[in-house]
Symmetry: C2
Subunit: 122 residues, 2 copies
């Protein structure tokens, strides 16, 4: 698949809340995920699909999603961008906030090998 095709499939799966299928189908085993900022007590970078799966699981367990708006994909050669606007509550603190960020995905051999998230600290 091209970057644009992977992007379309990525957005379709995320909109259907199929995070596990998205990882299994579209991500390389060696994919790397990089946050703009380190989460409290965590690393900015997750290396390998198992680390990314763990990060996603942690996120889902620690947030309630009230509304999710996913825009894109926006392709450019072997990369695509996606914009995420999530209305969420952080379960540990009870704090409700809007998460507004851009993801940048890099494709090689038809798989996502790198995802990078762009945002400002709240």
């Amino acid at each position: 698949m091209t970057g644009a095709e992977v992007g379309k499939r990525y957005v379709a799966l995320i909109k259907e809340n199929k995070h596990e299928e998205c990882l299994a189908e579209l991500f390389s085993q060696d994919a790397v995920s990089v946050e703009a900022l380190a989460p409290p007590g965590g690393d900015r970078t997750a290396k390998g699909i198992e680390a990314i799966r763990g990060k996603g699981k942690w996120w889902m367990e620690n947030h309630t999603v009230h509304k999710a708006e996913v825009s894109g994909p926006y392709p450019h050669d072997d990369r695509f961008a996606v914009r995420f606007v999530y209305d969420i509550t952080q379960k540990p603190t009870g704090k409700r906030l809007t998460m507004d960020e851009v993801g940048l995905f890099t494709i090689a051999d038809g798989k996502i090998v790198r995802e990078e998230f762009f945002y400002t600290g709240s």
Copy 2:
């Protein structure tokens, strides 16, 4: 300026429609601008600030902007992303459309050295 600071200034100037000031203040002389797709009869890549200035001038002369929505910046280290949603009419064709894209900007030595635009063809 850091990537986040350049991004804030970029978005502020663009929102005020100060394109020339934005180029002069924030872009490196050797900056490169890359479109996702080649415009009709044109190149995807503009090299150097004069080429970028010319591209911007051509764009402004050939489009009427009815409404512009600029979101961001979304920083990540020495890069930042911006989302643009423009309601425009193409002057030569009279066609009105929504331009929805993501710009990715790379900073070196406090200046924008690369801008890349991500979008799908209409």
